[in-house]
């Protein structure tokens, strides 16, 4: 095997390796006829990533002939070859990857400025083939956007957050942190809403929600952001994998992430809101009077499980926490109609954790039912900053 990567592609290769290191500890290398495949899988086999670099990505691409070669090695060792990413572009002119099958070594040689040559001889182990079975083109929900959109979305979640839930409707995508039932009362819940026009492509066949590991999404974004390539997201039913993909003419990266299965999602949603698992987000607020965005966070109540409209998951960048802070006085300012709903919500809250409360979106419209808009007093509640909607019904 004898491959050469030159110029800016060295950094792309390095970024792919760093991105794969977020998935698993081992790097699987398989030079194929259609390109060099670099893969990684996590220990629980719930996340898999593969980068395929076409022969054209390289300035020279020669692979072992006659027999299929596959190996795996500690990903940290390969990362050490491309240690200082920032200086890679400036100092490395080309990277040569060679194979010494007799000694079981893969050699990475970096030709740098000023004649400096860095040679890394890494030992590898033979490995089985690593291939995930997935067919992203068969998935019903397909989205594509500039990586910046996703990066800006995940930045709102703490680094320690394990899982996120993505829910879609025909026009919107919600991203929220996933919290176990038992912890709902003690955690901070964060949710963001993205409109379909923020995406380059937004196609929803089935409105549903999937929950998957955030760390792996971040891993993929490490690569996507540096290359600026659009990220495509494919998913179907909860339980079937979610695929994140970046492609250009010479490379293709796929991250296949397992999602929480239907049962657990279903169960959670039911107890939370007494509704069918995929909460079809309501789009009524599209018609909201823009004045309503000044409405205080805590006063507006999600139009709960009422028959009039389907429950609306929270909108936009807003956070709410179940703090027992008393703010009962604010409830005076809302319409009677809402107070009724509040009570309804209260019952729910006691039994199953926070109902789908809304908080106010300082950015988009509120989710007050249109009829109550006229009766609210937007201006007076403006100064409320922290949402503590949960306490209203106490």
């Amino acid at each position: 095997m004898d491959c050469v990567v030159t110029g800016g592609n060295v950094k792309v290769l390095a970024k792919a390796i760093h991105s794969l290191s977020r998935i698993g500890d081992e790097l699987y290398v398989e030079p194929q006829d259609d390109g060099l495949a670099l893969r990684s899988v996590n220990s629980s086999r719930s996340a898999y990533a593969c980068f395929l670099f076409a022969p054209l990505f390289f300035s020279r691409y020669t692979i072992p002939s006659g027999h299929a070669f596959r190996c795996k090695m500690a990903i940290k060792s390969v990362q050490a070859v491309f240690r200082s990413l920032a200086s890679l572009e400036k100092t490395v002119e080309k990277c040569h990857i060679g194979l010494d099958e007799k000694k079981n070594r893969l050699t990475f040689t970096l030709h740098c400025k000023h004649g400096l040559l860095k040679t890394h001889n890494l030992s590898f182990q033979d490995s089985e083939s690593l291939q995930a079975v997935f067919d992203k083109d068969s998935y019903g929900n397909v989205f594509r956007s500039h990586p910046r959109l996703l990066v800006d979305t995940v930045v709102h979640f703490p680094p320690s957050l394990e899982e996120v839930t993505v829910s879609v409707s025909d026009e919107r995508m919600w991203v929220r942190n996933h919290v176990e039932e038992e912890d709902r009362s003690k955690s901070m819940l964060t949710e963001l809403c993205l409109a379909s026009d923020e995406f380059d492509h937004f196609a929803v066949t089935t409105q549903n929600s999937v929950t998957f590991c955030l760390k792996e999404l971040r891993g993929m974004l490490v690569f996507a952001e540096s290359t600026g390539l659009p990220v495509s997201m494919y998913f179907d039913e909860p339980g079937s994998p979610l695929v994140l993909s970046v492609t250009d003419s010479v490379l293709e990266g796929n991250f296949v992430l397992a999602t929480l299965s239907d049962d657990s999602n279903h169960r959670k949603n039911n107890s939370r809101r007494e509704q069918t698992p995929p909460p079809p987000p309501n789009d009524d607020f599209m018609d909201d009077d823009m004045d309503s965005y000044l409405i205080a966070m805590d006063t507006s109540i999600a139009p709960g499980p009422s028959a009039t409209r389907p429950p609306t998951p929270p909108l936009a960048v807003s956070t709410y926490s179940k703090q027992p802070a008393a703010a009962n006085h604010r409830s005076r300012l809302i319409a009677e109609e809402q107070e009724e709903e509040e009570e309804e919500e209260a019952e729910l809250a006691d039994s199953a954790g926070p109902p789908n409360k809304k908080f106010c979106s300082l950015f988009f419209g509120s989710v007050l039912p249109p009829s109550s808009q006229t009766s609210t007093q937007p201006v007076t509640n403006q100064e409320v900053l922290a949402s503590d909607s949960e306490d209203d019904e106490q």
């Binding site: 500690a74 050490a80 000023h114 004649g115 400096l116 040559l117 860095k118 890394h120 030992s123």
Partner: protein, 279 residues
Amino acid sequence: MPLSTQSQADDEPYVLVASLDNARNLSNILKSITFKDHAIFSATPNGLKVTVEDSKCMQANAFIQADIFQEFTIKEDLVGFQVNLTVLLDCLNIFGGSTVQGVSTALRMCYRGYGYPLTLFLEEGGVVTVCKINTQEPEEPVDFDFCSNNVTNKVILLSESLKEAFSELDMTSEVLQITMSPSQPYFRLSTFGNSGNAHYDYPKDSEMMELFRCTTTQTNRYKMSLLKPSTKALALSCKVSVRTDSRGFLSLQYLVRNDDGQICFVEYYCCPDEEVEEE
């Protein structure tokens, strides 16, 4: 100024008086050899030499010539003592080590002789601090017997290129192997770590190579733990000379420019780990 009036009165008993308008010109260079607590100070009319040793296998010396100091008075041919280097550095930075332009700590270092503490007068912004650090009997520094006549190979490299290599060195390797040769690979740093080995090759005609004088092919291994502290001196320096002698002993000499652009030297000596056959 408080410091100078004191000098008139107390001058007599001191065998050594060294003054600096900017204490950083001393503290920065001493920081680069602080890998052990104790340092041996040797002052001669030429200037100050500070030595730190590690297990008799490695030695670092910092040289600050007399003309770097604003005042350097020595009453004997050789004045030697040992102090706790960490404590000395803490004192030199007692005002917090501000890096604001124009603000510096002035230093007056005085030593009365055997048995007396090292006295430091430090002043910044009109505030004076007096520190007295106990001294000990100076140990005899190891004489590595490294003389120019025995030098087999010598290269001078611009520090910039070595800094990158040293920062990337595989720390899981117990040794750093240095190969110097009149033929390929000319100058090579190698590590042997958990995942495999790595080589950093500098060609003799590289712009980073200021001088290349190698007569024989030599490969020597040095304990990584002994050489790692030298990265501090490397970071401060602009040029480094690497020399090996016929026994395989290594001499690294770093040219350091202080805040005022004056030149000081830091030198590291290290004995080889074992004899290595050419691979």
